[in-house]
Symmetry: D2
Subunit: 145 residues, 4 copies
């Protein structure tokens, strides 16, 4: 069994940093959203198109563990995969790596699959199939890649 | 002739600061928006209510002059008045003062008065009358108060 | 045994909202920081003063559960208490309530107590004593207040 | 006489949008900072390196004219050049273009050249020489490219 990992890159700006020259803790969620948007696009399913088809994926829970600070001008790598894929729910996992591959952040975001009126609805099967390639349950560590 | 000035207060957070312990230059626009929202409410015309009546005020131009940095935990005073009030257009002016009344920022934001579909429309006369109390054309300096 | 709860209020601005008129999910962390800053001040221990004494409290983990969306102009109440108070570590818990007391968000942020060079150091006993009034372990639900 | 234009691209995220599905007006300043950072890097003079050499460029004034809204997922092109290059001062100009090249924003940011203690200091001649390639005084319109 294999698990694909999606990679996204991000350059840290002053707008994201705070006193002490490190990225402010909430800004990582903005980065993860950008990474997720590019993931859906790479999947051939841009979020905007899904929205036009009546599907949105609001965040219902998130968790972030800060391991080390990112600094101004660092080029970050954001790794993204899925740890859960339910009927109307999915969970993304992320690792943010700094220069030299240092682990800076581990995170998960859990999303509902809903209509535009935020009523839960089942993930379309073809979409779930595409997502499954990136699914790795949390029991299986992703450290051995 | 008199010109009323509206006052709003804001405490600086880490989220607004950047490297070097000063407020990041774009965050002032967010503060000015908060001050403007409270101004409309104090006028008896909350923006949300105006929106329900079909009026919105998108920013079409803004200008900021940074005089001195605001620091973490500074309690800022935002002064707000109008420098122009046209048929379908209005300009707010601001001064942001730090502790001890030090001038930190001077700014203006120019707004259109439009329908929800962003078509220009005339400011209702009763609203213009309320706003006029805060109008001071730029030629008249506001420094002598 | 009693547990004090600190309350902070926040008015939602357009700067915090996203498409669909709800507060963007990362902005809550900024609000929680503002509430925390006021909590420390109310305790008689402003963060800036603690920093001058060589103590900072970087966020090392956070968790957010989104229950319902906050909208533009909502006046939010942020409730804050502690669920853990260790030698060099403390955890804040939060509930964000909307108009009419509707629960919008539950969250925790875990912080290290460190020197300015981010070396862990023990919380001073007098500070820990002040914090203990707000301590309620997670087993004890805070719903019955 | 020629004037080089630097180009940077940016994909709009939900984090940058507000109610009504358009980019919130202050977020453009964050984008312009990112573009400027890449401009300095492309020049062979990354800002972080300049800072290590004792030069920083704080924003002292900025002006933004909003021509049309950017929407979620739009791929924006940011054009950047200089309109002024003084002894200890420089002004960047920008145009932000949406899909199909539509003009969305015109802006300028004026910067001081200072030491880390924010004392004005002269731009080093080799740096000024590199910047001059991108200099086009405002009288000369940049529309005919």
């Amino acid at each position: 069994m294999s698990c694909e990992i999606f990679h996204h890159h991000h350059r840290v700006t002053y707008a994201e940093c705070t006193v002490g020259n490190h990225v402010y803790h909430s800004r990582y969620l903005d980065m993860l959203e950008a990474a997720r948007g590019e993931f859906w696009r790479a999947l051939g399913e841009p979020l905007e198109q899904l929205q036009h088809s009546g599907f949105i994926f609001p965040v219902i829970e998130c968790q972030l563990r800060y391991r080390a600070p990112a600094r101004y001008d660092d080029l970050l790598t954001i790794e993204l995969w899925l740890t859960d894929l339910g009927r109307a729910r999915l969970t993304f996992a992320y690792r943010v790596l700094g220069p030299a591959g240092k682990l800076l952040l581990e995170a998960t975001t859990e999303h509902a699959c809903t209509s535009l009126e935020e009523k839960p609805q089942r993930l379309p099967a073809p979409l779930a199939d595409k997502l499954r390639r990136f699914l790795r349950p949390p029991a299986v560590t992703c450290l051995d890649r």
